[in-house]
């Protein structure tokens, strides 16, 4: 049921046009952060207002929406955002990655490979990959214009000098089509390889920071590294204790106060799907 008090997908038409224009420019210049006049939303800045505005500008009534936070469909903020769109756009919702046409996500890319025709919308807190090296927007804007990314390489190199490896484990920067260095939002670097050459459209919305950036399908996004220190993904060296998956990203769950813990898939749909097919992990129960 759509709430008739609001326009379809909440935003007024002029706001949607403004966001849609920004999305198209972001698609045309992959990895470049397009400024947009982010609106105040009925949820706080930092809680997905950028993603919500991008999703609202893209949704059609025929869509089937999936919302995840930390890979899970049932975390409270994911529930809250999904309800918002059920109420204001009347769209169908799903937890099954393969059935969704639009997926809004915070901090994960689903394990199930995406397909053409799907749109993945990321919630982005700080879209500027150079922000923690240079706090000034006026400076970082110049650095992107001049393709001056030396500072980033120096930082990564200092990591190697000090720790023997690059000490960035999430929000790991990528270079898009050999031009813009882009922040992929705080996904674990485990997910970085899925950014590149993905058949789906990937849109990134940062509400408070008023920026939208994008990766069109099949776009090359290379995680920054050095020849002698190539990029490596990482995950907990375990299998999922519920479904036995060996290759999915895992959450660590503390089970008692004596150091007991278990590891489970962060992607709840992926894990449930495997269990439904009869896969059982160390602590799982056959269904």
């Amino acid at each position: 049921m759509t709430d008739q008090a609001y326009n379809f997908a909440y935003l007024d038409e002029q706001t949607k046009r403004m966001i849609r224009r920004a999305i198209l420019k972001a698609i045309a210049v992959p990895g470049y952060q397009v400024p947009f006049a982010s609106r105040e939303m009925p949820m706080p800045y930092g809680w997905g207002t950028g993603g919500v505005q991008v999703t609202a500008a893209c949704l059609v009534p025929e869509d089937r929406l999936k919302v995840i936070d930390q890979g899970a469909d049932d975390t409270t903020n994911a529930v809250s955002i999904r309800r918002f769109f059920q109420r204001t756009a009347g769209v169908a919702v799903t937890e099954v990655t393969a059935e969704a046409t639009v997926i809004q996500t915070r901090h994960r890319i689903p394990e199930t490979p995406l397909t053409e025709g799907q749109i993945l919308v990321y919630q982005v807190p700080i879209p500027e990959p150079l922000r923690f090296l240079e706090p000034r927007e006026t400076e970082t804007r110049k650095m992107h214009a001049l393709e001056e990314y030396g500072l980033m390489h120096v930082k990564l190199y200092e990591d190697i000098a000090r720790h023997g490896q690059i000490a960035t484990s999430y929000a790991y920067p990528v270079k898009v089509e050999g031009r813009y260095v882009m922040d992929p939002s705080p996904i674990p670097k485990f997910d970085n390889p899925k950014l590149s050459g993905n058949p789906a459209i990937q849109l990134f919305g940062a509400g408070r920071e008023q920026r939208i950036h994008a990766l069109p399908p099949w776009t090359k996004a290379v995680s920054l590294d050095f020849d002698d220190h190539p990029f490596q993904t990482s995950k907990a060296p375990h299998d999922c204790d519920l479904c036995g998956a060996r290759d999915s990203y895992l959450d660590e769950v503390i089970t008692d106060d004596a150091g007991g813990r278990m590891f489970v898939c962060s992607d709840t749909d992926f894990c449930a799907g495997r269990r439904a097919k009869g896969h059982v992990g160390r602590l799982g129960e056959a269904t």
Partner: protein, 191 residues
């Protein structure tokens, strides 16, 4: 000023849903250069195609400067734009959006290509064509898995435009209710 009664017709009947549906198609064609899709909802006066009129309704408003090129710059179209969109008409050099045939839009070097610190401040051209087919020059680049083909009106101008990347204009091609896209990032080769 009196508006011809035709100007009052031809807008979206149900704007929120129709513009959302049309935008999704436009997003697809911009994200996948060369892909041809159909859009509808607008019935603009001649010589504008349904697709061009729909794209204008979806993307332009009083905050966008619009350049009507050649035959598109006629009283019927101007009245329709004034009533349904309210976009101020502008010269090619200042335009955020421009619509017309490829010939009418020449020289395309007039259009805004953005600035190094704001490459998004560039024009989007809506090029009216007789037909759109996946035949002709080869397209490669972001949005394209290996290669695709589209009957572009020429290749030289788009190669020059690609050479300006990340600056450059972006293009939508329209024919009847068909629409295709060519962002500045696409590499074009005559074959």
């Amino acid at each position: 000023m009196t508006l011809a009664t035709d100007a009052l017709a031809g807008g979206f009947v149900e704007a929120p849903v129709q513009s959302a549906q049309a935008f999704r198609e436009i997003l697809e064609v911009m994200a996948r250069p060369g892909m041809i899709r159909r859009v509808s909802g607008a019935t603009p006066p001649a010589p504008l195609s349904v697709a061009a009129g729909t794209a204008l309704l979806v993307l332009t408003d009083p905050t966008m400067r619009l350049h009507l090129a050649g035959a598109a710059n006629c009283p019927a179209v101007r009245d329709w734009v004034a009533f349904h969109i309210g976009a101020p008409l502008s010269s090619a050099e200042e335009a955020d959006f421009a619509v017309g045939t490829w010939d009418a839009l020449q020289p395309v070097s007039r259009f805004r290509i953005g600035q190094p610190d704001y490459p998004d401040r560039s024009a989007t051209l809506i090029v009216e064509c007789d037909q759109l087919v996946n035949h002709g020059p080869a397209l490669t680049g972001p949005g394209i898995q290996t290669a695709t083909w589209l009957n572009l009106p020429e290749t030289a101008a788009f190669r020059v435009n690609r050479g300006l990347f990340p600056l450059g204009f972006d293009t939508l091609f329209t024919a009847g209710d068909q629409i295709a896209g060519l962002p500045r990032s696409t590499r074009v080769e005559a074959i």
